[in-house]
């Protein structure tokens, strides 16, 4: 580094080693048409997915587009409040802002008649008993606490039904996690 000669007036000051520059910006988020329909449904204790007119897959929560066909998903489909765990993780690490007591389970839940899992909490069961294929159901907040947010579903809990075999959506085309198009169909499974 080049030698710097400072003016006499600041020659003796302590060098700056770091600078804090806090930044804060406010946004008014727009959920969009499809997600707004979904959130309004949630406030009425209904789970509304949307179906792609081309491949007929049902997405929940809908974002407005089918990622396979790139077309709007306009047809709404009311979904059951039950589903199957397709993947999960046990959270053992405490972090700032944590709402749940550790250990707790965060899982991907494929709602019946849908084609893309949602992420939610699993409760009312010991963390080490949670497994892929477990059947679960939504536990809602009381009616007077219903709002257009996924937090209107407090968590999911086991239904007590027998486990089912899990066929991950997209498995036949690779899971998308480390899978590439040159792999033969199914090899990503």
């Amino acid at each position: 580094m080049a030698e710097l000669t400072l003016p006499a007036s600041i020659a003796g000051v302590e060098p700056v080693r770091s600078v804090r520059t806090p930044a804060h910006l406010d946004y008014q988020f727009t959920a969009g048409e499809a997600t707004s329909r979904f959130l309004r449904g949630i406030a009425e204790r209904r789970i509304l997915g949307e179906r792609c007119p081309v491949c007929e897959k049902v997405y929940v929560p809908p974002r407005g587009a089918c990622p396979t066909d790139g077309v709007p998903t306009a047809e709404q489909v009311e979904l059951p409040h039950e589903g199957t765990i397709t993947s999960f993780c046990v959270v053992n690490v405490a972090f700032y802002g944590q709402a749940m007591e550790i250990p707790y389970v965060s899982a991907l839940i494929l709602l019946d008649r849908s084609d893309l899992p949602i992420m939610h909490l699993i409760q009312e069961v010991a963390a080490d008993e949670v497994r892929v294929g477990m059947r679960v159901e939504a536990v809602w907040v009381p009616d007077d606490e219903l709002a257009p947010t996924l937090e209107s579903i407090r968590w999911f809990r086991p239904t007590g039904e027998a486990d089912v075999a899990v066929d991950m959506p997209g498995e036949g085309e690779g899971t998308g996690l480390g899978s590439w198009p040159e792999l033969s169909p199914g090899s990503g499974a």
């Binding site: 990622p67 790139g70 085309e173 998308g176």
Partner: protein, 352 residues
């Protein structure tokens, strides 16, 4: 070099605020329109490249969700730039030069309305010494304009002429957000908002989308009756520190124009990406445009200024005029960064 042409262009109507739709819902109709215009579906697209920035809508990785609008599953060849779509077009042009693919879809979008845009734009500044001061984009343009006036390169009268001409031309542009017909002399009677800028010197804040289809050689000739060939394209950047630059000139634009071969032939039409009136005057000088060139017939960024999008719109507007047969040779310019920091020049020609 492979011959590469723009064979289709589409854009949304630009609006101050799109409340109902999210970004992917704004994008899909425009992508559908541009592909239909090229007689293509996504299956015919060899490479997809997009331009946007998450800071506008304040949604992390929003460009990943927006990608759903082009059906990226199973995986497609795709890339994204955190820049104006004009630079996404540049990347797609390079990709086509490599020769592996013959067609490319380029799209870009802005949803600026969820945030406070002039403040959001401060986040692109030097994070140590400038961004902590939160100098908003209009104030920086005012500083640049003051310097240009003091240097004798710009006058407020010439700026008012730019504003009046741009908004008048915008009346013929159905996609424009801001269009009116008032004489320049009247504009000067209005008070300064951020001196020396008046309201008419500033662009509108816009939500909008644009898309272009590129095709190489035979793929272009087979799909378009009159492709707009990219004869030269180049982009150059100046230092990030505003104090290291001459804000009254645009040497990066001048260099990009030379390298793109702008001066190898007549320039019938120019679309210049100048969000502020004084910037058009600086850019015209750097591009060496004279009175024979029609400048910003669309109304330019003063008619609609969707961030990360208005640059690609400039390219599309020139390409459309060449494909229509209105002009044979023209230039499009795009800018990025504060006070014209980075500039791209694209020279387009139709077949004779």
């Amino acid at each position: 070099m492979r011959d590469v042409a723009i064979i289709a262009f589409a854009q949304s109507e630009h609006r101050r605020r799109v409340d109902d739709r999210n970004e992917v819902e704004m994008l899909m109709p425009v992508v559908g329109e541009v592909l239909a215009s090229a007689g293509m579906t996504m299956d015919d697209v060899g490479f997809t490249c997009s331009g946007s920035t998450d800071y506008l809508a304040g949604v992390a990785f929003s460009f990943v969700m927006t990608l759903d609008g082009v059906g990226p599953w199973p995986p497609i060849q795709e890339s994204h730039v955190e820049m104006d779509g004009a630079w996404a077009l540049y990347e797609a042009w390079v990709k086509l030069q490599l020769g592996d693919v013959d067609t490319a879809l380029v799209y870009c979008y802005a949803k600026s309305s969820p945030g406070d845009l002039p403040m959001v734009m401060t986040r692109q500044l030097d994070p140590y010494s400038v961004a902590p001061l939160w100098p908003d984009a209009v104030s920086l343009a005012a500083l640049q304009t003051r310097a240009a006036i003091d240097a004798g390169r710009v006058t407020v009268e010439a700026m008012a002429e730019v504003a009046a001409r741009s908004r008048r031309d915008a009346m013929g542009n159905p996609k424009a957000q801001l269009a009116w017909d008032r004489p320049a002399a009247d504009l000067l009677a209005e008070p300064e908002t951020v001196a020396p800028l008046r309201r008419h010197d500033c662009p509108p804040i816009s939500d909008g989308v644009a898309a272009v289809v590129l095709a190489a050689a035979d793929a272009a000739r087979g799909r378009a009756s009159r492709p707009a060939w990219i004869r030269g394209i180049d982009h150059r950047v100046e230092p990030m520190a505003l104090g290291l630059r001459d804000l009254t000139d645009s040497p990066s634009t001048r260099l990009a124009a030379e390298r793109a071969g702008l001066h190898d032939g007549p320039v019938e039409v120019a679309e210049v990406h100048a969000p502020f009136t004084s910037q058009e005057l600086i850019l015209r000088a750097a591009l060496g445009l004279d009175g024979d060139t029609v400048v910003n017939p669309s109304g330019g960024a003063l008619a609609a200024n969707p961030m990360m999008t208005a640059g690609l719109v400039r390219i599309g507007e020139v390409a459309r005029r060449i494909s229509d047969g209105e002009h044979r040779r023209g230039v499009a310019h795009a800018t990025s960064g504060p006070c014209l920091q980075q500039n791209l020049v694209c020279v387009l020609e139709g077949d004779t």
